[in-house]
Subunit: 223 residues, 2 copies
């Protein structure tokens, strides 16, 4: 399995057994996550902004308003960190100390670049749309020239990245196993409710294929 080269910056030092560097593992976490948190520095202050994203092969795409301060900062070629996290469960131990969270996270480091080629811009926007609602892109009106002009698209190569994963039950001290206290995992997942139609929707229009039974794809979890 292809792995991404560890660097001093991406190697998981605390609890190194939780670190993963296989490209397939990293991609699966990225593809399941709905949004990412983008970190960048302006005037010495770090900022962390949640935003949508998409992936094509080893390229991660971000987008936003061309007028956005965040997008313009990022497009100027500054270092960036893109983090995604999936919360799979709450780990309840018998001691306060050993409580934990089952999660899968990915940290990507690098420098984002503005995408200027029209075809790559359209492919990136399609990837972001399909990342969030698969099948939606071909149901809707595509971007026109004015909308494309108003949209900034950024590319970040997945060349320096690592995943961190915790699964399984609590790891209590042996002396605590006799505590008369329930211990285990509360599984958590993001689920979709019934679609809520736009009040302006014509009465005869049924939910689109992309909407019916919407669910995030999900890797099998070892509790």
């Amino acid at each position: 399995m292809e792995t991404i080269q560890q660097t001093e910056r991406t190697r998981v030092r605390r609890l190194p057994d939780r670190g993963h560097y296989e490209r397939d593992v990293i991609n699966a976490i990225l593809d399941e996550a709905l949004v990412c948190h983008v970190g960048f520095v302006a005037d010495g202050q770090p900022y962390v902004i949640p935003t949508a994203f998409g992936r094509v092969d080893d390229r991660l795409y971000l987008h936003g308003s061309a007028a956005s301060r965040t997008l313009r900062s990022l497009a100027s070629g500054i270092p960036v960190c893109v983090t995604v996290s999936l919360i799979d469960g709450l780990v309840l131990a018998r001691s306060a100390f050993h409580h934990s969270i089952n999660y899968r996270s990915v940290v990507v480091l690098g420098t984002a670049q503005a995408v200027v080629d029209r075809e790559e811009r359209l492919a990136a926007l399609e990837a972001i749309s399909e990342h969030i609602v698969p099948g939606r892109w071909r149901e809707v009106r595509p971007p026109n020239d004015q909308e494309l002009k108003a949209t900034a698209v950024l590319r970040l190569l997945l060349s320096e990245a690592s995943a961190k994963i915790r699964t399984g039950p609590p790891l209590d001290d042996a002396a605590d196993l006799t505590q008369p206290c329930w211990a285990g995992v509360i599984p958590l997942r993001l689920v979709a409710g019934e679609p809520v139609a736009d009040p302006k929707l014509a009465a005869d229009i049924q939910p689109a294929t992309s909407v019916v039974g919407y669910a995030r794809r999900r890797a099998p979890i070892a509790w």
Copy 2:
């Protein structure tokens, strides 16, 4: 209603109608979010790390291993950004361009400080535990001296913070309203599954009060 003073760094510039500065609004989002994403800078590179947190009044608490590079960096008094985001729904418009996400997010800027007072450290750890699983703290063995020594606790004042919220249906261009395409919102929420007992749990122990019917508290949402 008390508001937090806007600064040039926290004022929401893009779509300013989405910006909120009331302390109650910010606190409610913080309290509902399960984890935060902490941004900091090391050697010019921003890092964004997901982690648990808790809140007591206008103090946000983080914790982690005293051996953690992240915690030691943060405790050295560097600028930090703590962001939480709640994804409430996917906003499906008739055009690709007007797709959006309904969300509630909070960005907190400041400088974290190591908490050294034993009573405040215990109160902070209790707040973090109660933030994630209300009622759990009094069900389990509290931290002992060795565990307390191994745990770093950080305090970040909620003095420079803002919220950003999007709710409601898609906002399509008038010309697109006749598109024969479903439009609306797919609501999303984080839900708990059936608790999974630790394989080491004695057979006669029932799920604790904190575990039965676990659910994140949730603000009413206007779709």
